[in-house]
């Protein structure tokens, strides 16, 4: 029997973990001689206190949703895709090619085309390690890490030698045509009479990310393919018995994963920068791992965790801007969150299970 009710499993455990991470973070801030209460206030107002703050929080969250979903779907097939970063970089290349070389009449068509190209490029980049794993037994953790470096080098080469406009000193593509510029939340909400900050980069690809969360939920929990992926993830030997091909599942799960990571580029490259620059991903591919861990590889969990990490990113940037707390400390806080919600899960779970057990015993004793 399950010891804990589901709500405790899903809500209480991560909440307590977060609280513990927050307490330790507060101690660290205290230790460097700053005021943790003021720091929290600054983070909250900076990230959530204005539509400008929200705009940035949601912008980051969009990135993390894509990469978090990418890691999640691979997790369900018990594949650890650490290559989200490289797949997102390649996705950026796909977006750049789509935006620069195809004359789009309208942003909506451009978004569909660019998302397709981004997904395709990301999927191809993930398919190579997947194939090496499925057919040759090369460990996917190793190959996807290496493919991150290859992606960075490839992008460097392409930007410097091929896509850089003549005479430009900057290793970046030309600015995308205006027709491909995505509407921001300001543009989208204005017709509804809601005033949203003009300067914030959150854009329509947030809706794409939310749609992707829902689509992935349907895929994982409602389709036969999702059923096969989860079965394979739980037990490869049982999957073989049932006639589920390990090669097929490995390839499909990684292709979906790579496509999702690649589609992140519709947000950061197409929606925000509106050109492809070096290191456009800024580590979002790696944050996706933490997001997937914290969200327990469930699309709804990923959605929430992505917003939390978006908050940490934006709040952290504000902290670095207004206080003498160094930016590195934000990384420490993020690391603590990952540590407590991901790695130290059992530290919270096991005592909590004991509490619930004791409660239940008392209840049955009272009844009997």
């Amino acid at each position: 029997m399950d010891v804990m009710p589901k709500w405790a499993e899903v809500v209480l455990v991560p909440l307590i973990s977060l609280l513990l991470a927050a307490i330790i973070s507060a101690l660290v801030i205290l230790a460097i001689g700053e005021d943790p209460v003021a720091a929290v206030k600054l983070m909250v107002t900076g990230a959530l206190g204005s539509t400008y703050g929200w705009g940035y929080t949601l912008y980051y969250a969009t990135n993390f949703m894509f990469t978090g979903l990418a890691v999640s779907i691979a997790f369900h097939a018990r594949l650890f895709n650490i290559g989200g970063e490289g797949q997102a970089m390649l996705g950026g290349l796909g977006v750049a090619l789509a935006c620069l070389y195809i004359p789009w009449p309208h942003w909506s068509l451009a978004l569909i085309g660019a998302a397709f190209m981004a997904g395709l490029f990301g999927a191809v980049w993930a398919a190579i390690p997947a194939w090496l794993q499925a057919k040759r037994g090369s460990h996917i953790v190793i190959t996807t890490i290496m493919f991150n470096f290859i992606a960075a080098a490839l992008l460097n080469y392409v930007l410097v030698n091929m896509l850089r406009p003549k005479g430009s000193m900057d290793p970046a593509t030309a600015r995308f045509p205006d027709a491909t510029n995505l509407p921001t939340l300001h543009d989208l909400l204005a017709p509804l009479g809601i005033a949203f900050s003009k300067a914030a980069p959150a854009n329509v690809s947030l809706l794409v990310a939310v749609a992707a969360c829902f689509a992935l939920w349907v895929l994982i929990w409602r389709t036969r393919l999702g059923y096969e992926i989860r079965a394979y993830g739980h037990s490869e030997s049982a999957a073989r018995y049932a006639g589920i091909s390990p090669v097929k599942i490995t390839m499909i799960a990684m292709i979906i994963s790579g496509a999702l990571a690649g589609m992140m580029a519709t947000n950061n490259v197409m929606g925000e920068a509106e050109r492809l620059v070096l290191n456009s991903t800024e580590g979002a591919g790696f944050i996706g791992i933490a997001v997937a861990l914290m969200g327990r590889s469930h699309p709804l969990g990923v959605f929430i965790a992505a917003i939390l990490f978006g908050f940490l990113y934006q709040g952290g940037a504000e902290l670095a801007l207004w206080t003498s707390i160094p930016r590195e400390l934000i990384v420490v806080i993020q690391a603590l969150v990952i540590l407590f919600t991901g790695a130290l899960d059992n530290m919270v779970r096991i005592p909590l299970e004991k509490v619930f057990l004791a409660l239940r015993r008392r209840k049955t004793r009272g009844a009997g």
Partner: protein
């Protein structure tokens, strides 16, 4: 271990204090009460059996005695003095030795190296090895436990490996030996050999606790027997004053039919026809060496053999997830053994259902709920599907019906497979496979880890399917089960079929010899000969 403690122990053992006395042991795992107020007295120099169904709490009790778990309540008394056993080191110090069901030996070490492992006297190995060699000779003389100290574990047979485990315990000066399901991997001849050794140990004053679910072993070897049911000790009786039927009833809590009721088979046409089936595994080892078998409609063909002699590979090839060469025909139609049609899906489409040997590793996804497992392998069935999506409602409804018909408890389709008992897990698999109405049912170890009450039910279901005119290929390492269920018996050894017998014309002894690779049943043969054969097979057949 100092000499003083040894003499002390011998002194107390000579008195009439029980070698082991457990008083009011209780242990709970979460909401599960594994042991409930268990008290037991084992007198020195006796063999005490503990019998009970799977999950009755036998292993938990022994784990507490060996220091793996700490009891929530209760006391352990060894040789008349209260003893705390917080870990296995303490258990060894108290003179308790344990022989596990799954041996804990280092495969590429010699017998001698395994014996001293963890009991080395100093930093240098040589003196320890020399001392162990001397001790080993003494032990061999005292108890008839002959082994070659320089043989590698991977080169000796299973029976021999078990002997090494016993020697390990004796080397650590154990006076009390606990054996957990020791005959599970042995041929009948090897089991007899083991029981002779246990008798010798007993006569030398050792105390032995034998944990088993086989009634016959209890009846033949023990002096007293305790029966466990659902975490409680239901009875402790003198073996000479009880009967198998009484013990079975105590185990299950109701009267149990110990034999299978069935009418003679009404065999029809050949359903499965195997010719020259050969399997070479990933490591290049030949697992099946030209097997020829036929199974007819309305017949149960039982495959007997010691685990690891090719039966698993036979099931896997027929189940579609192991490549092979040769000819396999189902209702006259040739099956694809290596190509893209060689998978579980296409086998199911051909009308082959498969209850795999290991339900937890293959037959079920333990994290999946019962209804998801009901669709497992058949999830492409149009009845289970709604367009691109799965028709979860239809599958759940179907599961509810199956659970009712196969008496799965609790009948809750939303409970994860891992939360069912072994017998109920097996019923979920059986319901899924049998209700597909297959032409051929492959069934491996149908009652392994299944409680006696469920065994009866499972056997009835298998016979009922046979009576509907289906062909059934049964693989089991339990000879009793093979003899009770089969209409025809084939014995496998070293990847070959050693011979076929009719159950009414044969007995355990003859089958046991065939299982050890001896076909000429008239020739005299020593235990040594059987062992040599088994060792040869073991070195070739060893699975990783």
């Amino acid at each position: 271990m100092t000499p003083e403690t040894t003499t002390e122990r011998q002194a107390t053992a000579a008195s009439t204090a029980p070698a082991i006395e457990l008083k009011g042991i209780s242990k709970a795992f979460g909401p599960v009460q594994a042991n409930k107020d268990i008290s037991i007295r084992v007198m020195p120099g006796t063999i005490h059996g503990i019998i009970g169904e799977n999950g009755a709490g036998k292993s938990t009790l022994m784990s507490i005695l060996y220091g793996f778990y700490k009891a929530d309540k209760g006391e352990i008394w060894i040789n008349g003095s209260r003893t705390e056993i917080p870990d296995s080191q303490a258990a060894i110090a108290a003179g308790i030795g344990m022989v596990f069901q799954h041996f804990k030996l280092v495969e590429n070490f010699t017998v001698l190296e395994n014996i001293i492992l963890g009991a080395e006297d100093g930093r240098l190995l040589k003196p320890s090895l020399a001392k162990a060699r001397r001790t080993l000779v003494e032990l061999a003389n005292d108890y008839g436990l002959n082994v070659d100290p320089d043989a590698l574990i991977q080169d000796i047979g299973v029976g021999m490996q078990q002997r090494v485990e016993i020697l390990k315990a004796l080397y650590r000066q154990a006076d009390i030996l606990i054996l957990d399901e020791p005959t599970g991997v042995l041929t009948p001849a090897e089991a007899d050999q083991l029981f002779r050794i246990l008798g010798r140990l007993k006569s030398e004053g050792k105390t032995i606790i034998l944990i088993t679910h086989k009634l016959r072993e209890i009846m033949e070897t023990t002096d007293t027997v305790s029966v466990m049911r659902r975490g409680e000790m239901t009875a402790t009786v003198k073996t000479s004053e009880t009967s198998p039927a009484e013990l079975a009833e105590l185990m299950v809590g109701r009267k149990v039919l110990l034999r299978v009721d069935k009418t003679p088979a009404q065999t029809g046409e050949v359903v499965l026809d195997i010719k020259g089936l050969t399997v070479i595994d990933d490591k290049g080892v030949e697992r099946l060496r030209g097997v020829d078998l036929q199974v007819c409609a309305g017949e149960i063909l039982g495959i007997a053999g010691v685990a690891g002699n090719g039966q698993s590979e036979l099931l896997e090839v027929l189940g579609g997830y192991q490549g092979g060469t040769g000819e396999v025909r189902l209702n006259g139609e040739l099956l694809d053994l290596t190509g893209h049609l060689s998978d579980g899906q296409s086998r199911r489409n051909h009308g082959i259902a498969h209850v795999p040997e290991d339900r937890q590793r293959e037959g079920l996804i333990m994290e999946y709920q019962a209804w998801e497992n009901t669709a497992f392998g058949y999830h492409h069935d149009p009845a289970y599907r709604a367009g691109l999506l799965m028709n979860n409602t239809a599958i759940r409804d179907d599961t509810t019906g199956k659970m009712e018909r196969f008496d799965v408890r609790p009948p809750n389709p939303k409970l994860a497979a891992k939360n069912f008992s072994g017998g109920n897990q097996q019923k979920i698999v059986l319901a899924r496979e049998i209700e597909r109405n297959p032409d051929l049912l492959l069934i491996g170890q149908p009652t392994r880890g299944v409680d006696i009450g469920a065994i009866e039910f499972i056997h009835q279901q298998i016979v009922a399917l046979r009576d509907q005119g289906k062909a059934i290929l049964l693989v089991s390492v339990e000879l009793e089960e093979i003899l009770a269920l089969s209409d025809r018996i084939a014995v496998m050894f070293d990847g070959r079929v050693m011979g076929e017998r009719l159950p009414q014309d044969t007995d355990e002894k003859e089958l046991g010899l065939l299982m050890a690779g001896i076909t000429d049943t008239d020739a005299p043969h020593s235990v040594a000969e059987v062992e040599a054969n088994l060792a040869k097979a073991a070195s070739a057949e060893k699975r990783t």
